[in-house]
Amino acid sequence: MVRNTGYDEWLDAVADGEGYALTCPNGHASLPPRHVCPDCGVTDLSETALPSAGTVETFTVVHVGTPAFADETPYVTAIADFGSVRLTGVVRGVDPETEADDEQQTNPEPIAIGDPVEAGVERRSNGDRTLVFDPVEE
């Protein structure tokens, strides 16, 4: 597999439990690969460790997927808040088949907004790597 410089090193770090954000002196954070801060254009970016867990900000149960994910549907994609940045990943260890029965589509649900998750990395059958979230047992 051809590596994507910057991004794949970052995934390696996430896989090792050492995920980071790129932070500029003005306090803006973003994800690699990046030459400049997208908020202010400063080039002096440094790696700042991410907390071990983030919290689910929103999620969706995907029932119609791309060919790369077609044999995995339904699955849960979530956006989780890790303080300075948000990560987008597939939630593992939950039951995506949980069918909500109320108008809000929230009860019961495979995971809830506000739930803590840890980030990890999975290798996919097509060779790509996917950022994944595992719920943290509270």
């Binding site: 997208p38 119609v64 997927g65 940045v85 929230t106 790509d128 996917t130």
Partner: protein, 388 residues
């Protein structure tokens, strides 16, 4: 600054036309627009053509020269690509070119051909509007992005699937008299609620269909219209564009669309109009929640309050501010690269009085069009006004 007037508009019927080539579709829409304008093809100074995924769908890149020849135009031709806002930016650049005096006649529009592909391949094609590294590899799809936004909206502002079902039902009602619409049939709130899930909380009837079609608009300058006695009673009085971070997770807010808010502010400012002056709107309802967020960005409803507008009838044909009298992307269809031009076509007809739903807005003089790309990393807003 000059004025860009709309001299002619044209569409193909929107729907499933798997056997029709892209060049065939665009030729039809362009011919209709040119005939409507009564402008000689030889006078066209430029073609601005919108298309998103032709390289994937038809194995055809470099489409602008192809479409110029298909339309019988011998002029510089350029393809514009901003995902689902491709035709919107093509229109915007036509407006700017005509206003600047650099051109007197510009044709803008677009085309998308999708229905001959398998659904999974369409899903993959549309997903290329998202960030490949940060989103698509995490299972993000086009419906998935809006599912994430819908759940974030419900969490922050409230709202229910029933509220969204009313958006779908309203737009299907609007599409019934529209001969260009893909789905000219009513869909009840109950039918929408019982449809299978696509990307929760969004279900099948929250989503626009897979559509083939093309759109074209002929823009002329004031001086050209006067010199050649061209009837062009509707003008673009405001044009705005906004850009946001490509990945949804990198945005300031997940339940709002700031790029569209900024585009609207620019367009309203140029036109010297306020949201309350708007008589009719065509917005980018690729998913029901998208209509809600669009109407809020346009200032038609306060942020967090647009969710109940359809349920309360405010955005229906006889409501205070009719939204998507064409049927919207939901029922009229969404040939991605054509939609931004199609919205201008529909609004022009509504303001001219020759649209099948014109009777609902007999006194309308100001319309607004809202076209968005991806999960609204790109937004284009145009204000149209009856000038004479």
């Amino acid at each position: 600054m000059g004025t860009a007037r709309i001299a002619g508009v044209g569409l193909t019927p929107f729907g499933s036309h798997p056997d029709r080539t892209g060049r065939d579709l665009f030729a039809e829409a362009a011919a209709a627009a040119i005939a409507d304008a009564g402008v000689p093809r030889a006078n066209v100074d430029a073609l601005n053509y919108g298309n998103f995924m032709g390289s994937l769908a038809e194995r055809q890149g470099h489409q602008a020269p192809l479409m110029a020849e298909a339309a019988g135009l011998s002029c510089p031709a350029t393809r514009y690509e901003e995902a689902c806002a491709s035709a919107g930016v093509a229109v915007r650049e036509a407006v700017r070119t005509v206003r600047s005096g650099e051109a007197d006649v510009v044709v803008a529009g677009g085309m998308e051909r999708m229905s001959h592909l398998e659904t999974a391949d369409v899903t993959a094609g549309l997903a290329t509007a998202a960030d490949d590294l940060l989103e698509v590899r995490s299972g993000m799809t086009f419906p998935g992005a809006y599912g994430l936004m819908a759940r974030a909206y419900f969490d922050r502002f409230g709202g229910t699937r029933t509220d969204l079902a009313h958006v779908a039902s309203k737009n299907h009602d609007h599409a019934i008299p529209n001969e260009y619409a893909q789905f000219r049939r009513a869909v009840s709130v109950e039918e929408a609620l019982s449809a299978p899930p696509v990307a929760t909380p969004l279900h099948l009837f929250d989503a626009c269909p897979i559509t083939d079609g093309a759109s074209a608009v002929v823009f002329v300058s004031d001086s050209y219209a006067a010199a050649h006695d061209v009837e062009a009673p509707v003008a673009v009085s405001g044009s705005g564009q906004g850009t946001d971070r490509l990945a949804l997770g990198d945005r300031d807010r997940l339940a709002e669309t700031p790029a569209a808010t900024r585009a609207a502010e620019t367009a309203y400012g140029e036109a010297s109009v306020e949201p309350e002056d708007v008589d009719v709107a065509e917005v980018h309802d690729c998913f029901t929640i998208a209509e809600v967020m669009a109407t809020e960005s346009l200032g038609l409803f306060p942020v967090g309050e647009g969710i109940t507008a359809a349920r309360e009838g405010a955005t229906a044909a006889d409501g205070a501010i009719p939204v998507n009298l064409s049927g919207g992307l939901k029922a009229k269809g969404h040939p991605v690269g054509a939609t931004g031009g199609s919205q201008i076509v529909e609004l022009t007809r509504l303001l001219r009085g020759d649209h099948p739903n014109s009777d609902h807005v007999p006194d309308a003089s100001i319309g607004v069009a809202h076209n968005a790309g991806g999960s609204v990393a790109t937004a284009v807003v145009h204000v149209l006004e009856v000038v004479a």
